[in-house]
Symmetry: C2
Subunit: 348 residues, 2 copies
């Protein structure tokens, strides 16, 4: 057998050489990846310590198995074994991981060294993964999964060294959603003293987006939450100028609540992982404003047809999880805003 390093000395920077099926698709769309332990010359292998499953994926697995931790664990193991990556077939989502660099191909452009403790900032849905310990240290009852095994990073993968001033759990939890505050900051900065409404504001991406909006020059930040308990948490964090209760799936209730709190918004940021929030977000946004959808539960056609149906001249952005410098920026927000740090730490 030809050693793959001889057959194809440089891998595709986006990992096409690791796709086994179907042929010709990108790793994220693949049903099976090649988890070959030997590296192509521009790859990096990382020894896994901990997986952080995507929240929507974990919730689906928990519901499906009625909170039976052993069954959840068995299904995760089965997915990884059959696909060569952790991608929930129902939600399509994955998560991320923490580990230690084990080997660096001589032509890797990532700038990593053996022994670096890193978090991967590309999704597990496109990262070749082998689990070697049967997830023996995980009870199946939380998104953070202690694990032993390895993953492969490609030339264009992204991994960030873990900071010294916070626990790996906190850093990983922050990096998991670090695309949201970076894009929010970029969009808010294009407006002059805008009103910014964040829907799902007490959550991870929501609280970071609120902090980013304020730092980027928002004149007023409105945090929308679904329950009184979350309202109290968000009030205490001091991250929002106004905290309002509304069901984000009810367009009239949501837009009325945002209007009463100082809206309509110039920028609306949707961070709630439930379907049906498109119309309300559009209706809460001023003409000429922007809606950023970060929720994976967003329906493309509901957003497109919804805006058309409302004759709403708003820009609607697919929340891209990658913005250069996003991890460092999100970590700096946690350092600079006690309220963000508090909301994250109580989730760990």
């Amino acid at each position: 057998m030809i050693d793959p390093r001889d057959a194809r000395p440089t891998g595709s920077p986006v990992g096409l050489h690791r796709v086994l099926a179907p042929a010709g698709v990108l790793p994220q769309a693949a049903t099976r990846l090649d988890t070959e332990w030997n590296l192509w010359v521009d790859e990096v292998r990382v020894r896994v310590e901990r997986l952080n499953l995507d929240a929507a994926s974990f919730r689906q697995l928990e519901l499906k198995h009625d909170r039976d931790g052993a069954a959840v664990r068995a299904e995760v193991l089965d997915i990884v074994a059959s696909r060569g990556k952790m991608q929930n077939p129902e939600t399509g989502s994955g998560g991320m991981l923490v580990g230690t660099v084990e080997e660096v191909g001589p032509q890797s452009p990532l700038g990593l060294s053996v022994g670096d403790r890193v978090a991967t900032l590309v999704s597990l849905t496109l990262t070749p993964l082998v689990i070697e310990d049967g997830l023996a240290g995980w009870d199946g009852h939380g998104e953070q999964v202690p694990a032993n095994g390895y993953v492969i990073l490609f030339g264009r993968s992204i991994a960030a060294r873990l900071p010294d001033d916070m626990t790996p759990e906190l850093a990983l939890s922050v990096m998991d959603v670090c695309g949201a505050p970076a894009l929010t900051s970029r969009v808010v900065g294009k407006y002059d003293a805008p009103v910014v409404a964040v829907v799902g504001a007490a959550g991870k991406s929501g609280s970071l987006s609120l902090a980013a909006a304020r730092d980027a020059g928002a004149a007023r930040t409105i945090g929308v939450v679904p329950h009184q308990a979350e309202a109290e948490l968000l009030e205490a964090s001091g991250l929002a100028d106004a905290v309002v209760l509304a069901d984000a799936r009810d367009p009239v209730a949501l837009s009325d609540a945002v209007a009463a709190a100082g809206g309509p918004a110039d920028v609306s940021v949707v961070c709630v992982d439930v379907p049906g929030c498109e119309g309300g977000a559009i209706l809460s946004t001023r003409e000429g404003g922007t809606v950023i959808f970060f929720s994976m539960a967003t329906s493309f056609s509901a957003a497109a047809l919804g805006a058309e149906g409302l004759a709403a001249d708003v820009t609607m952005l697919v929340g891209n999880g990658y913005v250069p410098g996003h991890a460092d920026y999100a970590l700096s927000l946690v350092r600079g805003h006690e309220g963000v740090r508090g909301l994250f730490e109580r989730r760990l």
Copy 2:
């Protein structure tokens, strides 16, 4: 029984007063609308001449019924009767219509007069519709459906008077996709002499987007089509500086083809109604560029996770079907570009 005009003299501008089920949702998300013939004071009733079904919706119906026209017609009638609107339950999409204004509520802000021949520019998915002729004049074999019946327009609905210098069929066909060229023009205008790639360039929204890109200052336009026959049509139209053949679902093939034709693109416009084109469009776009998704087959999560997985710093827009002035702009493109007019007329 209280006359609804007395109970609620002014309707909601977005039609909330016509939603029967489920309660509290916008008309587009409703499963059933109130088709009451009497108008609220800010509404308009239009006598229908012709429906123009959304292409994806019609294709789904045709496939489902194996091109049995009578069965397609029966299902359309059933959908309209049960929902009070034409919204394909599978695709979620509707279409638009041509008709003549029959009655104008005294407080309607739309500026229409009885007898005006108009096309509605909001989707049929949110427009109360009654069909009165059993679609007797339609054989179920085309998207353009002769029909007699009526629709209700709300305060914030949009309707455009039909122009005198083209047939209603042509005008309707243009207005159906008029959001695409307007948004393309706006985005292209933000770049300095950009390269613009249009995927699905020989179609309706594709050809209009190509013309819009050139008018808005594109330095180079690249039209991507799937078949030789479409390539020849597009070549003959003169709308693209380069015409390339590629399967848009194959990210590597698509991005290689765009690169060979002068890419990567600063602006990529996705106009093909097939799933799985997100990765290729992202991979065909330069860092700092923009991808506009007009296809209703776009998957939100595939776009968001795809860009993250490729570490692609691109702006991704949900193609909003509404931009102020979109209908007049699209009609002006048809008047100014013989190539666009030719591609449209051969579809009628």
